[in-house]
């Protein structure tokens, strides 16, 4: 009899999101020296063996969906091509694919090289893990790889519970009681602003648009932010929101609400180090009353909204009891319909994935020189900006299914964000 695993609530939720995006999380890491493929193979198999969800197929049973553990070989997971003519193009093509839920493995890794640079690319089904655990996964992959080439043992990958209830593990009993009663539907954001992409067409295809922020510019606005006691996330929200007003041609006095992804592991014991690989992402809503005269005014508006969320000890935990109730009371086919009625996927979002630590992602002698991580490829009209930083360089990514015209719109949008960064630095140069 095949071995099965329980489909947790977030697995089912991410499955439901198939209507809004392609369910893949993407990561690309570029190195300056060769990667030992044999060592990587051994480490990948070890990791896959310890994480059954990664070699399981999702069975969308109408009553109770589940994962069925499947057989696999390393060829199902790893692809190697060391004679690429155009490395970026090959990497792009690899990460723009989607793994079907009924596939025997739920993640794919590739090693590509053009002789000068070596790329480690990975895509994984969002139902298995979110950006937070993806970062953890990549770090442990590097750590275990380094142990393997050094002939050391003691590989590590977390294998705890993937249950949604883990999210309450660091709360006191009293706080848990309150958190488990937060039935408010936070997805019902009263905002119908959307990113001005073209209507869906047959030319639409998966694309991950990227823009790097120069190190000097990033360092400057980060330094000013530090003086003002403002986080990079708050600053980026301000740059992003201001650019949205411009690209969307929204009225300057209109209220604009943007959901910003938050890692719920802040509520989990040991920051989620003892759970299994899974999703623990919620969101806080940043609502600005108006665009503001200058970028500083936009920042003040952002801070006024964000403070409310930051002061809330239950940030990101709203709606979870409602989801749990829906999945507990009804069979899958009914709960999915009920949630679809009540859930409104945010039209515009932002996710600050943060730093890809080059020291922790080093593979033997190969140093991380570039890279990014981004979320799922959104279907129109949805869009999300993802941010990652490698060696002091920030990469903005927007993953969408669109056409060349959409690409131009996104490029223009990146220009506007960068301009806001420059304006901010100019306006606050005295604080540098």
């Amino acid at each position: 009899m095949p071995k099965t695993l329980k489909a947790e609530i977030w697995d089912k939720m991410q499955y439901l999101f198939r209507d809004f995006y392609d369910r893949m999380v993407h990561c690309v890491q570029i190195y300056d020296a060769p990667i030992d493929v044999a060592a990587l193979k051994n480490v990948l198999i070890w990791t896959t063996e310890k994480t059954p969800i990664l070699h399981s197929s999702f069975r969308a049973n109408a009553v109770e969906p589940y994962w069925q553990v499947e057989e696999y070989t390393i060829d199902d997971i790893l692809k190697v091509q060391l004679d690429c003519e155009d490395l970026d193009e090959v990497v792009d093509r690899f990460i723009c694919q989607s793994i079907p839920v009924d596939n025997n493995v739920q993640y794919k890794v590739a090693v590509f090289s053009d002789g000068n640079r070596w790329a480690l690319a990975m895509i994984v089904n969002h139902m298995c893990m979110d950006g937070g655990d993806f970062k953890y996964f990549m770090k442990k992959l590097a750590e275990n790889y380094n142990k393997q080439i050094a002939g050391e043992r003691g590989f590590i990958i977390k294998t705890g519970s993937r249950a949604l209830d883990e999210v309450y593990s660091n709360l006191t009993e009293e706080e848990q009681e309150i958190a488990k009663g937060l039935y408010k539907n936070i997805s019902a954001v009263k905002d119908e602003h959307y990113f001005p992409l073209t209507p869906s067409s047959k030319d639409d295809h998966t694309m991950i648009c990227k823009r790097k922020v120069e190190k000097e510019l990033f360092d400057n606005f980060k330094a000013i932010g530090k003086k003002l006691d403002v986080t990079v996330n708050d600053l980026m929200l301000a740059f992003y929101i201001r650019a949205l007003y411009d690209i969307g041609m929204f009225n300057d006095s209109e209220r604009l609400s943007i959901p910003c992804m938050v890692d719920l592991r802040r509520h989990i014991e040991a920051g989620g180090a003892n759970t299994g690989l899974t999703n623990h992402t919620g969101f806080m809503v940043c609502s600005v009353e108006n665009k503001g005269e200058t970028i500083n005014d936009t920042l003040i508006n952002v801070l006024r909204s964000v403070r409310k969320s930051k002061d809330d000890p239950y940030m990101g935990l709203y709606s979870l009891p409602l989801l749990k109730l829906a999945y507990a009371v009804f069979p899958q086919v009914i709960s999915e319909t009920a949630i679809k009625i009540g859930y409104m996927n945010p039209l515009i979002g932002m996710s600050n994935i943060g730093l890809l630590n080059d020291a922790l992602l080093k593979l033997g002698d190969a140093n991380l020189i570039d890279g990014f991580m981004t979320g799922a490829v959104k279907f129109k009209p949805y869009m999300q900006l993802a941010l990652t930083t490698v060696k002091g360089v920030m990469t903005m990514t927007i993953a969408i299914r669109g056409n060349d015209e959409d690409k131009k719109i996104v490029e223009k949008f990146f220009d506007l964000i960068v301009k806001n960064m420059q304006d901010f630095v100019e306006l606050n140069r005295d604080k540098l």
Partner: protein, 279 residues
């Protein structure tokens, strides 16, 4: 690889007695280890050291397993034999009842309603099976199965009681058995809810009270024609159900008020040492 696994197992098995069972368990474990190593090679793992370590990682708690193995109570496995005995006995009882039915029919020319003997035998057999499955369900805490079995069992009993009363007694209106059956099924289900301390118990209780009142009203109305003022029973059922719900909410509120009062006192009246140091 095999020798290394054997060496590992020799060490590990030193903690338990060298019995035939231990030898068989050791052989079985060695085979599982070798199979696992082969599987890892097929998957693409090439580092033999890593294969060895990965296989042993699956046996991290093997010491505990061995302790459990030695401490296990080896019982005579009579389950299958008991099932066989049960089947033989059931067939024998049904056969005896069938033979009795035929003998009575042939000797006394009474074929009706003696066939109830056979129906009763079959129902009794089913109830025994329900009892066995129900006991297992209780053991496995599968209370939904238990509830279904009890409801089905009560339906069988009600049907048999109805048939006996209808065919072998002068009583009238014996169909009222089925009205009583509804109240009994809901009552039994409520009792199970209390027995297993289900959250639904406080919802089931007022439903049972109301259904019981309605069934009693209808039965008394038909049997002794007290439709009026018998209808008061239905309203009394509603009042009783509402009283139960009110009491439940009041008790719950009382508990919450008490907890909140304590919290308010702790926060606003009690001296907190953290006041002097925390910002």
């Amino acid at each position: 690889m095999e020798d290394r696994f054997k060496a590992y197992l020799i060490e590990a098995f030193k903690t338990i007695a060298p019995t035939k069972a231990a030898m068989e368990y050791r052989k079985q474990t060695l085979k599982a280890m070798l199979d696992r190593a082969q599987e890892l090679r097929i998957k693409g793992m090439t580092d033999e050291e890593l294969i060895y370590d990965t296989v042993l990682e699956d046996y991290e708690d093997f010491g505990d397993k061995l302790k459990e193995f030695e401490a296990r109570e080896v019982k005579v496995n009579s389950a299958k034999r008991n099932v066989l005995l049960g089947v033989v006995l059931s067939v024998a009882v049904v056969a005896i009842l069938a033979i009795t039915y035929v003998i009575i029919g042939v000797v006394a020319h009474v074929w009706h309603p003696t066939w109830l003997l056979i129906v009763g035998g079959i129902f009794a057999g089913l109830l025994v099976i329900f009892g066995l499955v129900g006991a297992k369900a209780v053991k496995n805490k599968e209370f939904t199965i238990l509830r279904l079995l009890i409801a089905t069992g009560l339906v069988l009993i009600s049907v048999f009681v109805f048939l006996v009363l209808q065919l072998a007694s002068p009583l009238e209106n014996v169909w009222l058995t089925f009205l009583a059956m509804v109240a009994v099924i809901v009552g039994a289900d409520t009792a199970i809810a209390f027995f297993v301390n289900s959250k639904a118990k406080w919802i089931e209780l007022p439903i049972f009270v109301e259904i019981f009142a309605i069934m009693l009203y209808v039965m008394l109305g038909i049997l002794v024609h007290i439709w009026h003022p018998g209808w008061i029973l239905c309203l009394a059922g509603v009042v009783a159900a509402l009283a139960e719900v009110c009491t439940f909410v009041a008790i719950r509120n009382g508990k919450k008020d008490k907890a909140e009062k304590k919290k308010i006192y702790d926060k606003n009246v009690k001296t907190d040492e953290k006041y002097w140091s925390e910002w």
